[in-house]
């Protein structure tokens, strides 16, 4: 225990920030697939209110599985000993997304105002987050795209879950949240403190969703 106390967070980081960024540049070769899943996601969100389209579960599950295989297993695991564990975590989330259906009974429907945090989070994740790191000089080739980059995929999924009624389906919430925290710790260790925005936004959206829903039910 005493020995662990002598480690900094940055001592546990085994790759450089440059190598981390290169992962996205390389993973982005799959951009046509990401585009396809992104378009399917937007259509699914558009067609039915409050993200109720059943196809969305499959789109999101496909995105998590793609990240598990093409990002974590294929690339990240080469430079991070925890990469395979992350791949497994993402595959489990893909399975949860498929298995956990929600009985969208009207009594459970999310009040309209309470869907706002979810919509905001999805909009941010799809339109702004991919380019977030450009602010610190990352190349455009390293944009963090939905269905390729874990952070963006986790944020979109959280946003979608926040649109959904609070049922068993919310059991798919912890893994994206855990990932957001892992990502923040990784960025802090890489001396990119802006990384804490990812879990911060996720938690803010979750908090807002719960507060608005509770307030509306009073």
């Amino acid at each position: 225990m005493g020995e662990w106390g002598s480690y900094d967070l940055s001592d546990l980081l085994m790759f450089s920030a440059d190598s981390y960024v290169r992962l996205f540049e390389r993973a982005n070769r799959l951009w046509p697939l990401a585009l396809l899943l992104g378009v399917a996601l937007v259509i699914g969100l558009w067609r039915r209110p409050a993200g109720a389209s059943p196809s969305l579960r499959w789109v999101l599950a496909s995105a998590w599985l793609t990240v598990a295989i093409s990002f974590h297993h294929r690339l990240y695991a080469q430079i991070n000993l925890a990469g395979e564990a992350f791949a497994l975590l993402f595959a489990v989330e893909a399975a949860l997304l498929v298995l956990l259906r929600s009985s969208a009974r009207p009594a459970h429907a999310t009040p309209l105002a309470a869907t706002l945090p979810g919509w905001l989070l999805i909009t941010y994740a799809l339109l702004l987050h991919p380019f977030f790191w450009f602010a610190v000089g990352r190349p455009w080739q390293a944009a963090e795209l939905f269905a390729i980059a874990p952070d963006t995929t986790a944020l979109v999924t959280l946003g979608w879950l926040l649109l959904r009624p609070m049922t068993w389906q919310w059991l798919a919430l912890p893994i994206p949240l855990i990932w957001c925290i892992v990502s923040a710790l990784t960025h802090v260790a890489m001396r990119e403190p802006l990384g804490i925005l990812v879990p911060l936004l996720a938690l803010l959206a979750l908090g807002a969703r719960l507060v608005i829903a509770a307030w509306q039910r009073r």
Partner: protein, 308 residues
């Protein structure tokens, strides 16, 4: 006549003239001056005092562009007279990337291959070493070390047996960040090891108290890891100019200042700075040429650095 021989001739000629030297001529002189080598006490074999670490810097996976660039870092290392490369199975893909670079360079004969065994089970040690050998593309390592003293009793027994069979030349143990020095000391007192590796730099000087004197007394070579405290010491100096007296021992930049401080300690055999950049490699390798500070100057260096 190759470039180094030409410059050696040039250097000895220039040294006779006490004229002020231009930067280019000073560079030429520096390259021409012999690189400092120190003996491994247990054998007398002399190795260059600046080696190369590979934690983080060589962990780039199978990224083709990054691998090609790291091969250039290795090329610079050997061109500047480097020998020891230190790695570990703990460093992700670093061993594979080193092996790839060595193959591109045609396996330079100057290589002093040093890796570690890092597994909590003594039984798994031999397989792990065989994997490392395959990744580096070497028939045998010059030095095998027990990483962070993990399961050291079992691994040292394996390594000693390998040494007896001629399957490795030297054995050692490592630690870092000032951890477990008491246990390290115990191992140094009781085990017939050739090398010990621990953190030593101008700020982290704890090893000067007991470990370095013990290494000298027991005839154990000492490898200094984290010479720049993972780069933080170089960042700390920022844009500040070097003290002018650093030129007296052939020092032109802060990395050289920090490295000369380390390798000029009589009980230190070599330092293993890690870098991912060719220009940094050249800078670091310059530190083993052009003179070394004496004991009094070393104290002055430490005081100067502490006052920054």
């Amino acid at each position: 006549m190759n470039r180094r021989h030409f410059l050696t001739g040039l250097g000895s000629g220039l040294a006779l003239t006490a004229l002020p030297l231009s930067g280019v001529a000073a560079d030429a002189l520096m390259i021409a001056s012999p690189a400092l080598r120190k003996p491994i006490p247990s054998s007398g074999e002399r190795i260059p005092v600046i080696g190369m670490g590979s934690w983080i810097t060589f962990n780039v996976g199978d990224d083709a562009a990054a691998r090609a660039q790291r091969a250039e870092v290795l090329r610079a290392f050997f061109a500047d007279g480097g020998g020891m490369i230190d790695s570990s199975p703990m460093y992700g893909s670093a061993e594979a990337v080193i092996g790839d670079g060595l193959a591109r360079l045609g396996h330079p004969s100057e290589l002093f291959a040093a890796t570690k065994v890092w597994t909590s089970s003594g039984d798994d040690g031999p397989d792990e070493i065989a994997r490392s050998q395959a990744l580096w593309g070497v028939e045998r390592f010059h030095l095998l070390q027990v990483h962070n003293l993990l399961a050291w009793e079992a691994h040292l027994a394996t390594l000693q047996a390998m040494k007896a069979d001629g399957r490795v030349r030297y054995v050692g143990v490592t630690t870092s960040h000032g951890r477990r020095h008491a246990e390290l000391e115990q191992i140094m007192r009781t085990q017939p090891i050739d090398f010990v590796q621990a953190t030593y730099n101008i700020v982290d000087r704890e090893v000067e108290q007991r470990i370095l004197p013990l290494a000298a007394e027991r005839g154990i070579a000492f490898i200094a890891n984290r010479p720049f405290r993972r780069g933080a010491l170089i960042e700390r100096v920022g844009q500040r100019p070097l003290p002018p007296w650093a030129a007296d021992f052939g020092c032109r930049d802060w990395p050289g200042f920090l490295l000369k401080f380390i390798v000029s300690h009589p009980a230190v055999t070599c330092a293993i700075p890690a870098t991912s950049r060719v220009d940094h490699m050249h800078e670091n390798m310059r530190a083993m040429r052009g003179g070394m500070p004496d004991a009094a100057t070393r104290e002055r260096m430490a005081a100067q650095f502490a006052a920054l």
